[in-house]
């Protein structure tokens, strides 16, 4: 019954999306200033649609919670013996469920702008919601026609077929929903950009309205990528934190576009420049989200994530992608010439620096995109290629290094025009820090060039991120500026973590019998015992490992080699020991037969800074949203109050005159 209600709600929301599109589009027909009667349906349609789509998602969640084995999706992906938490997270651990989550979030973001956003002119808002409805229709069609999550089995299954054990992890509970909110949140930027383009309303006012939504999506993307990276790091047991896997790239590309978008939106809001560029980025950012969805959902690429290949659904998403991107680009081509040029600025100005970094981000985006799609291209000519870190690291560094340099200096420059001589002292200090760190690292260590540069850039950037506060009274600094400072500092922290991990990691691989001792990165590691243990749906060999450093107390790690029952599969559960200056990472492998066990140990100095950096960046984004919204509300209140006073004065004068 619940499943049928969920399906009915989904059909109803699809119908409402159609209403939203047509009402929004028809509302544009009367000339500016006139009101259209049909326009009153646009906002309610979006809001009710959001409620219904969310209801539909909760209906599926309920089916998973009670393990309703008459629903095909539950029978193929769940198991009655699974812990409750993983039953629930299993809802989006499969194709149909994750697409339903995608669509529900899409409807939710449309509903939220319909409900909360009253700052834009009605025409622009109607156009925006019409676009949002148009996007939603495609995904409802996809769900209802080719991926119905509520499909019943003719005969209920006796038992579910389980869930991939790699996916039975708390990381899975948090990571995809966060990433989806970010992905789909960018649809709002797409709709706003097209709405403004259609109604010729690309103004600083529009940019101020769009900015918090872009920032919000970007914060979720940042959190999602950070969580995903940490999940891959401890769950896969390979000791790496980024694999340039196509699925990882699929989340990185929208992030790069969104980062460029939020900076160019700031330029538009503050200086009324970069109008067409901002619109273009809005289109690109969501296109990258959809491309990412296509790559993940269709399984067309080599990927540790894509466990299945489903070309039919892939084609469906590809067609949607073509319609949306093609449509958006057509509107862009027709309307771009009608957007007048923005304000000009000199090359050495804050706008100049932001434009430069926008271009660098776009270049990196292009490099990641080409690298991700290249294997598909060559396959057409029957050549199998794998593209890995030897391509991505150096090639993206060519553009990332100048970007970090300009990022350090940009916030110190003034808007419109500035002379570099004015910030001579700051520039000298930053350059000195960069050179000294690089020289020290190059002289005292034997590291490759990229980690050395990374360390130097991280140091310079960390200092540079606080320089905008110099000479200002800290209590008077706007919240949004704190957001920028924190986010830029977060980039420095993450960069330091990445460079340290690459430069200083020590690895030890050994076959150890209980009682044996090994050394890694200043730690003394003793294998105490290896015992068989059992969990709710797995059995495992658990190694008890004692780690001790200097004269400190010994800490215990317990890496496991787990075997799950349904489906039968072995996974390594790494054990981590976190200290402020790094992490000890232990994996247990097979037995060597003679009573010895394989142990792989890493000491990774400052590796945690990668994810602390990601969190700081997100926190900076949150502060920026709060700051911008608070400032905007305050400004509006003052404007309203001034208008009221003016009206009162006018009325008073009229009374006096009579």
């Amino acid at each position: 019954m619940i499943a049928e209600l969920g399906l009915a709600a989904l059909w109803l929301s699809a119908a409402l999306a159609v209403l939203q599109l047509f009402a929004g589009a028809l509302a544009l027909r009367p000339a500016v200033g006139e009101t259209s009667e049909i326009a009153v349906y646009v906002r309610p349609a979006a809001m009710v649609q959001a409620v219904l789509a969310i209801f539909s998602f909760f209906a599926l969640l309920w089916c998973f919670a009670i393990t309703d084995l008459s629903v095909k999706l539950v029978a193929t992906n769940s198991h009655s013996m699974k812990p409750m938490l993983y039953k629930l997270t299993g809802t989006w651990g499969n194709h149909e469920g994750s697409m339903l989550l995608w669509t529900a979030v899409l409807a939710l973001s449309g509903g939220l702008i319909a409900w909360l956003e009253h700052r834009l002119p009605d025409r622009t808002m109607n156009a925006t919601l019409a676009v949002q409805g148009f996007v939603a229709i495609g995904f409802y069609a996809f769900l209802l026609l080719s991926s119905n999550p509520f499909e019943r089995l003719p005969v209920p299954a006796a038992e579910g077929q389980g869930l991939n054990p790699l996916l039975q992890d708390i990381g899975l509970a948090l990571h995809p929903p966060t990433l989806y909110i970010g992905y789909v949140g960018l649809s709002v930027a797409f709709s706003f950009a097209l709405g403004a383009l259609i109604t010729r309303n690309v103004t600083p006012e529009f940019a101020k309205v769009m900015r918090p939504w872009v920032l919000g999506a970007w914060v979720f993307l940042t959190l999602g990528i950070t969580a995903g990276s940490y999940w891959a790091y401890y769950e896969l047991g390979w000791g790496g934190w980024w694999f340039w896997d196509p699925v990882e790239n699929a989340s990185l590309m929208p992030w790069l576009a969104a980062t460029a978008l939020l900076h160019s939106t700031s330029v538009l809001a503050a200086r009324d420049a970069l109008r067409t560029w901002t619109i273009m980025l809005g289109v690109v950012a969501f296109s990258m989200s959809m491309l990412g969805t296509f790559l993940v959902r269709s399984g067309v690429l080599t990927s540790v994530h894509a466990f299945a290949v489903d070309p039919e659904r892939g084609t469906f998403i590809l067609v949607l992608l073509a319609i949306y991107i093609g449509g958006a680009l057509t509107v862009f081509a027709l309307r771009a010439s009608s957007i007048s040029e923005g304000k000009r600025f000199s090359a050495s100005s804050r706008e100049g620096a932001l434009v430069f970094n926008n271009v660098m981000l776009s270049a990196i985006l292009g490099i990641v995109l080409l690298g991700t799609l290249y294997p598909l291209l060559t396959e057409a000519f029957d050549v199998r290629v794998s593209v890995g870190p030897p391509y991505y690291n150096p090639v993206s560094a060519i553009f990332a290094i100048p970007m970090f340099l300009v990022m350090a200096v940009g916030p110190l420059l003034r808007w419109k025009a500035d002379k570099p001589a004015r910030i001579k002292i700051e520039l000298t200090v930053l350059l000195a820090v960069l050179i000294v760190i690089c020289l020290l690292a190059a002289v005292f260590g034997d590291y490759s060039i990229l980690p050395v540069l990374g360390l130097g850039l991280a140091g310079a950037l960390a200092i540079a991120s606080f320089l905008p506060l110099r000479g200002r009274k800290l209590t008077r600094v706007p919240t949004a500026t704190w957001g920028m400072v924190l986010a830029h500092f977060g980039v420095a922290v993450a960069l330091f973590g990445m460079a340290s991990e690459a430069a200083f990691t020590e690895e030890r691989l050994a076959a150890m019998a209980p009682g044996d001792t090994e050394q890694v990165g200043g730690w003394t590691i003793t294998l105490d015992s290896v015992d068989p243990i059992a969990g709710p749906n797995w059995t495992a060999f658990e190694a008890r490992v004692e780690a001790q450093r200097g004269g400190g107390a010994a800490a215990e790690l317990a890496p496991q080699s787990r075997t799950f029952w349904a489906p039968i599969q072995t996974t390594s559960e790494a054990a981590l020991l976190t200290r402020w200056d790094g992490q000890l990472y232990a994996v247990v492998g097979n037995t060597a037969g003679d009573g010895r066990w394989q142990l792989r140990l890493w000491w990774k100095p400052f590796v945690t800074f990668i994810w602390y950096g990601g969190l700081l960046i997100s926190l900076g984004g949150i502060l920026a949203i709060i700051g911008r919204l608070a400032a905007d509300i305050k400004r509006r209140r003052i404007v309203t109050r001034a208008e009221v006073r003016r009206a009162e004065l006018k009325a008073l004068r009229q009374v006096e005159a009579t």
Binding site: N94, L101, G162, V296, V304, E341, R344, Y391, N590
Partner: protein
């Protein structure tokens, strides 16, 4: 502001910006294309590695099937030797030090990352094996097409 350094008109500035952006992005594309062409040599099948071996010590990937009966554990307890075979009679000996992937078995597909050594052995630093019953490294699909459809379990897709 004096008249001779009057900034260019807004329209011209937009044009200059567009051209600069296009130049930078085209440059990125060209660099990427050039680097990717070199990457084409990154993946080798055993027959390719025998016919046209990569430079000694160059980081490449070798993909093929683990020859049945060829896995030999080494006395140090952490190394194995095995032979990777390709479509034809070609085979390449591999030495790997590390923890074997969970689904690394004889007669199954594997992608080894590493480099070719002086003695003709491929020294692997990392092994990519199948991650579950359904997943086959994309590069190997042609080699073991018969295996991928046999699983009882409905394919599982990882949500991302």
């Amino acid at each position: 502001m004096s008249s001779h350094d009057q900034p260019i008109k807004a329209k011209h500035q937009r044009m200059v910006l567009v051209i600069l952006a296009i130049v930078a992005i085209v440059a990125a594309g060209l660099i990427a294309a050039w680097a990717l062409r070199n990457q084409a040599n990154f993946f080798y099948l055993p027959e390719q590695m025998q016919a046209d071996p990569p430079a000694l010590g160059q980081a490449v990937r070798l993909g093929g099937m683990v020859k049945t009966g060829s896995i030999e554990e080494q006395p140090d307890g952490i190394s194995v030797r095995f032979v990777v075979t390709g479509n034809e009679a070609s085979q390449v000996p591999v030495r790997y030090t590390g923890i074997l992937p969970d689904l690394f078995v004889e007669g199954s597909g594997v992608v080894a990352e590493g480099s070719l050594q002086q003695d003709g052995t491929f020294l692997a630093t990392n092994l990519l094996a199948k991650h579950d019953e359904n997943y086959v490294p994309r590069e190997l699909e042609g080699l073991e097409g018969h295996q991928s459809g046999e699983s009882d379990y409905q394919s599982t897709v990882l949500a991302e």
